[in-house]
Amino acid sequence: MSKNQDDALASFERGAWIKRLSWWDYLWALTVILGSVYAYNRYSALMDNYEVGILFGTAIAIIAQGWFWKSFRTLSVAVTVLSLWAIFLYGTDIGVAEQKFLLKYLISSQSATMWMSALFVMATFTYFFATFRDNDFAGKVATHMTWIASAMGSIGLMVRWRESYLVSHEGIGHIPVSNLYEVFILFAVMTALIYLYYEQKYKTRNMGGFVLLIISASVGFLLWYHFEKGAHEIKPLVPALQSYWMKIHVPANFVGYGTFSIAAMLGIAYLMKQRALRINPQGYMAKRLPDLDMLDDVMHKSIALGFAFFTIATVLGAMWAAEAWGGYWSWDPKETWALIVWLNYAAWLHMRLTKGWRGAPLAWWAIIGLFITTFAFLGVNMFLSGLHSYGEL
C-alpha cells in the first residue's frame, strides 16, 4: 500500500526519480562507469573517436536502462561476470575451449548459445503449460528459464566477440552482429528481454508462450543454420562492414524486429481469445488466454517502441550508406524493404492513433506485418541481390 502510494506520488513530483534511486542504483552506475573507463584505457588505441563515443554512449544507456528496469541490472552483472570469466579462461589460446570444463560445457560461445537454445525451447512449453494448467509455479519456472536463456545468449555473443580475436592471426576480430547467424542470437535475446519487461509491467505470464514461440522458431533456424551450413564459424568482415556504424545500426534494427515479432504473436493470441470468447465464453481457452484489452495495449506499445527504434535504425543505415556506398539512399532492395516495413507500421499506427481502430483488424495487421518484416530481414538476403547481401544462405 505504501509502495503504491510512493509510486503514485512520485509521478507528481518533478525530479522525484533522482530521490528514489537506491544504493544499488548508485553502485550500479559506478560499476558501469568504472568498467567503461577500464575498457577505454585498455583499448583506446584500437578505437577511433566515434567508437569512443559509442563506448561511453552505451555506458550511459546501460546505466539509464538499469535505473529504469531494475531486473536489467541483475542480468547485466551476471552476463558481465560470466563473460569475463570465460575470457579469462581462454587466455590467448582458442584451443583451450576443448579442454577446460567450464568453457567446453557452459560458457564458451558455442556452449552458451546451445544452452540459450535449449532453454528458450523448454521455456516455450513451460509457459504454455503454466497458462493452460493455470500453474503458477510452472509460470515462475518459465520466467526464470527465459531470463537464464537471455543471459546465456548474451554471454554467447560477448564471448564470441573475444573469440573472433583469438581464432586467427589475421586480425578478424569484430563485434558479433555481422552475419545472419550472429544476429539471430541477438534477435532471440532482444525479443526475450523486451517480452520480460512487458511480463513484469503487466504482471502476467499468459503472453509468454506466444512470444516464446517466435523465439523458438528463430532458435530452430539458428540450429539448422549451424548444423547444416556450418554458419557458426567465425568469418572475417568484408571491408564495407568494418565500421563503427555496425555497432549501432544493427542492434537498433533488432529492437524493431523484436517488438514487431512480439506484436504479431500477441495478435495471434488476441484472435484466438476473441474466437474462444465467441464460441465458448466459459471454456478453457477463454479463461486462460490473456485479457483482450491488455493484448491490445501491449501490441500498441511494442509497435510504437519498435517503430521509433526502427526509424532510428533506418536513419543510421542511411548515414552509414552515405559513408560507405556513396549515398544515403540507393533504392537497394534491403533499403527499399526497410522503407516498406516502415510504411507498414506507420500506417498501422495512423489507424490506431488517428482513426481509433482497435482490436481484431489491428491484430491481423500486426500478423501480416511480421511477414513483411521477415521478408525484409531474411527474404531480401535470400532471394534478392543487392549491396546488402551479408547474410546469404
Partner: protein, 678 residues
C-alpha cells in the same frame, strides 16, 4: 456573395481531401507496393538482358511503365510528390489548431461537464477554500502542470495543461518528413530529367572513350548540382570526369578538379576474400595552392568542395601479359610470342583466318578451399586470366587459363577451362606437366601425332617389328596395319576416342564392335607409345631402359587429354609466361547538397516520434465550490491519447492529490473521502 462562398467551399473540400487521413494511408500503401516492384525486378540492367529475360512483348510493357528505373519513373515521383503535398497540407491545417489548443486553458468549463467526464472525482471537506487552493496550486506546479485560475464568483476553477510537447511531436514528425523529402528532391535527378525532356541533353549508349562523347551527353560542373558517378582509375592515371549511369546509357559529368590514383593497395584474408583496399589519391585544383594528397578506403571517403569521393570497388587496370601461343595441328609447332593487355584485343592470322584474342580479366591469385586432409584450409592456384577467341564470323569461345600447374590426383596439370557461353560451366583441358615443369612435352607430343609423315614412319617401323616378332612377314598385312595405325591416329587427333567410336559403329557389324574396339585401342596405344618413345629419345631420355613411373604416368595422362584437344575449339593454347599486374581502383564520386537537410529532417522525425509516444498530453481541472457550509472539490481530467493509460495516471493523481492536498489540510472533521470516482 454566394459565388465566393462556393469557391471557398470547393477549395476547402479539395484541401480536406488531399490532406485527409484516408488518402494519406492509401498512398502509403500504394507507395509500399510500388517500391516492391523495384526490388523483385532487377533495376538498371542493360536493355538487352531484359529483352532476353522477358521477351519482346513484356519488355516493351515494362519499358513503357518505366519499371526498369522504377524509382525514377514519372508516376513514382508523382506518387511521392502527392504524399508530400498531402503531408504538408495536413501539417498546415493541424499546426494552427494545435498551437491554439496548447495555449487554450478552457477556464470556462462548467461544473456539469466536469462531473460527466470519464475521469472525475469529488470530495466534500471542511476547509477554507483559499488555503486548499493555495496548497493545490503548489502541488500542481511542483508536478509540472501549467496552471491558470479563474474566480467565477460562486466557485474557483483551476485549468491545467501538461504534456503539450506531445502535440508538437506530431508537428515535428510530419514537418520532418516534408524536410526529408525536400532534401531528397534536391539530391534527385529531377533537373536532369527536365533537361532530357527538353532535349538539352541526350544519353550516350556507345562504348567509346570519354573524350569522344558528344557535348550533348556531357555535363559541366555547374550544370548539375547533385549526382552519383563512378570512374575506374588504373594506377597512375588521372581523371577529371565521372560517368553517370542513367537507364540504359550514361552521361559524362565533368569535375572542377582532377583526381589521380597514385597507388592502390589491397590486402586479402587467407580465404582469398578482400580484407581491405585503399587508394592514394592526389587532387589537383586551380583553387588549391598545392595538390591535396589523401588515402581513401571503404567507409573512409574524401570530401572535397562538397564532392565526396568513395572507394567503391577495384579491378584490373590493364595488366600487361606476356603470352606464348602454342598451335595445335601444326607439325612444326611454330609458337608465337605475344604481348597483350587486359581489356585489349589482338588480331591473329592463323593460316588464312583472322581471329581476335580478347583479354578480359586477370587475377593474380585464385584461392579455393583446400582438399580434405591436406592440412591447410585454403590453397592458392596462382594467377589466371580469362580471354575470348573470336573467329571471323564473330563467334567467340571463352577460356580460363591458369598460369601455374595445379595438383589433381597427386599429379600436376596445367588447366585450361573452356566454355561457349556465359551460362555454361567451364569444361577443363588438363595438360600434364612435363619433368621440366612445362607444357612443352605435351605440345610436342600432339604436334608429333599431327605429323602424318612421321606417324607413317613410326607406324611402319612398329608394324614391321610386330610382324617380325609374330613371324608373319606379309607385305599386305603390313600395309593394312600401317593403314589402320595412320587412320586411328588421324581419328584420334581429329576427334578423340569419340571419333574412333563412331567410326566403329558405322563400319563394324554390331556383334564385332566390342572386339574391334578393343583391338583398335591396342593398336592405337601401340603406335602412340612408339611415338612417345621417339619423343623421349629426342628429349635425351635413355629409352633403352624401362620408362620411369613419372614418364609412364605422363603417357597415360596424355592419352586421356590429347583427345580433348579436338573439342578445345581454338587452334592454339595460350600460355601465360609472365605478367605485370596493374590494378585499378573503382571510385564513386557524388554530390549531395540535400544530404544535411535530409539528416535534419531525420532528427526532427525521430525526436517527434519519441515526443508523440512517451509524453502524455493531459488537461486537468480543479473546481472549488463552497456548498452547504462544506467545500466541494471536483478534480477532473481528460487525456488526448491513450485513454487507458490516462485513466491509470488519473487514479494516481487522485491518490497523490488526496495525500498532498486534502489530508494535509488536516482539519479535524476531515471526513474527506466521500467522493465517487466515475
Amino acid at each position: 456573395m454566394v459565388e465566393n462562398t462556393n469557391k471557398q467551399k470547393s477549395e476547402n473540400v479539395w484541401l480536406a481531401f488531399i490532406g485527409s487521413m484516408n488518402l494519406a494511408i492509401t498512398m502509403l500503401v500504394v507507395l509500399a507496393i510500388a517500391s516492391v516492384i523495384g526490388t523483385v525486378l532487377q533495376q538498371n540492367q542493360p536493355y538487352a538482358d531484359y529483352l532476353i529475360k522477358f521477351g519482346p512483348f513484356w519488355h516493351e510493357v515494362f519499358l513503357t511503365l518505366g519499371l526498369y528505373d522504377v524509382y525514377g519513373a514519372v508516376w513514382f515521383l508523382l506518387l511521392l510528390g502527392f504524399l508530400l503535398l498531402s503531408t504538408s497540407i495536413c501539417v498546415y491545417r493541424n499546426t494552427s489548431i494545435i498551437l491554439r489548443d496548447v495555449s487554450h486553458f478552457r477556464l470556462k468549463t462548467q461544473e456539469k461537464s466536469l462531473r460527466t467526464m470519464a475521469n472525475s472525482h469529488e470530495w466534500f471537506i471542511e476547509e477554507n477554500a483559499d488555503r486548499v487552493m493555495n496548497t493545490a496550486r503548489q502541488f500542481f506546479q511542483r508536478a509540472g502542470y501549467r496552471l491558470r485560475s479563474k474566480d467565477h464568483g460562486d466557485h474557483q476553477l483551476f485549468a491545467m495543461l501538461k504534456g503539450g510537447m506531445n502535440r508538437f511531436g506530431y508537428v515535428f514528425t510530419h514537418v520532418g518528413i516534408v524536410v526529408i523529402c525536400i532534401g531528397g528532391l534536391m539530391d534527385g535527378n529531377l533537373p536532369l530529367k527536365i533537361k532530357e525532356w527538353r532535349g538539352a541533353i541526350e544519353l550516350e549508349t556507345r562504348d567509346i572513350m570519354a573524350n569522344e562523347v558528344d557535348d550533348k551527353s556531357r555535363l559541366k560542373p555547374q550544370d548539375n548540382f547533385s549526382f552519383r558517378g563512378s570512374i575506374t582509375l588504373p594506377e597512375g592515371s588521372v581523371s577529371n570526369l565521372v560517368f553517370l549511369n542513367v537507364r540504359d546509357g550514361y552521361l559524362v559529368q565533368e569535375l572542377p578538379f582532377s583526381v589521380e590514383l597514385k597507388d592502390f593497395r589491397i590486402e586479402h584474408y587467407p580465404s582469398g576474400q578482400p580484407k581491405s583496399f585503399e587508394s592514394d589519391l592526389v587532387i589537383r585544383d586551380d583553387q588549391l595552392d598545392k595538390p591535396l594528397e589523401k588515402t581513401i578506403a571503404v567507409n573512409y571517403p574524401l570530401i572535397y568542395r562538397g564532392y565526396s569521393i568513395y572507394q567503391a570497388s577495384f579491378g584490373d587496370g590493364g595488366s600487361e601479359l606476356k603470352l606464348k601461343l602454342w598451335p595445335f595441328f601444326d607439325p612444326q609447332l611454330k609458337t608465337l610470342n605475344l604481348d597483350a593487355k587486359v581489356f585489349a584485343s589482338r588480331d591473329l592470322k592463323i593460316v588464312d583466318d583472322v581471329m581476335s584474342l580478347e583479354i578480359q580479366e586477370f587475377k593474380a591469385f585464385n584461392v579455393f578451399p583446400a582438399e580434405e586432409g591436406s592440412g591447410k584450409k585454403f590453397t592458392n592456384y596462382g594467377p589466371s586470366f580469362v580471354f575470348k577467341v573470336r573467329d571471323a564470323s564473330g563467334v567467340a569461345i571463352e577460356y580460363l587459363n591458369y598460369m601455374s600447374p595445379v595438383k589433381q590426383d597427386g599429379r600436376l596439370f596445367f588447366i585450361s577451362g573452356v566454355r561457349k557461353s556465359v551460362a555454361d560451366p567451364y569444361r577443363y583441358l588438363h595438360i600434364p606437366m612435363d619433368p621440366q615443369g612445362k607444357v612443352d612435352r605435351f605440345m610436342k607430343f600432339h604436334a608429333l601425332l599431327s605429323d602424318a609423315n612421321r606417324i607413317e614412319k613410326i607406324a611402319r617401323k612398329n608394324a614391321s617389328n610386330a610382324l617380325k616378332n609374330a613371324k608373319m612377314n606379309n607385305e599386305q598385312m603390313q600395309e593394312r596395319i600401317v593403314g589402320s595405325m595412320r587412320q586411328l591416329v588421324g581419328l584420334y587427333v581429329g576427334g578423340g576416342f569419340a571419333a574412333i567410336d563412331s567410326d566403329i559403329r558405322e563400319r563394324v557389324p554390331k556383334e564385332n564392335q566390342a572386339n574391334v574396339a578393343e583391338a583398335y585401342i591396342k593398336i592405337l596405344r601401340n603406335v602412340m607409345q612408339a611415338a612417345y618413345v621417339d619423343l623421349l629419345r629426342e628429349e635425351g631420355v635413355d629409352t633403352s631402359k624401362k620408362l620411369s613411373l613419372a614418364d609412364q604416368q605422363f603417357f597415360e595422362d596424355s592419352m586421356t587429354n590429347l583427345a580433348g584437344i579436338s573439342k578445345y575449339g581454338s587452334p592454339f593454347y595460350v600460355q601465360l609466361v609472365s605478367f605485370n599486374h596493374r590494378e585499378s581502383s573503382g571510385l564513386q564520386i557524388t554530390r549531395s547538397p540535400g544530404q544535411n537537410i535530409v539528416y535534419l529532417g531525420c532528427v526532427m522525425l525521430i525526436a517527434g516520434l519519441f515526443m508523440m509516444f512517451y509524453i502524455m498530453p493531459q488537461r486537468i481541472w480543479l473546481m472549488a465550490k463552497p456548498t452547504d457550509g462544506k467545500l466541494q472539490l471536483i478534480l477532473a481530467g481528460s487525456g488526448l491519447r491513450n485513454k487507458e493509460d490516462f485513466s491509470n495516471h488519473f487514479s494516481d493523481l487522485v491518490k497523490a492529490f488526496e495525500l498532498k492536498v486534502i489530508d494535509s489540510a488536516k482539519s479535524n472533521q476531515a471526513t474527506g473521502i466521500q467522493g465517487e470516482t466515475k
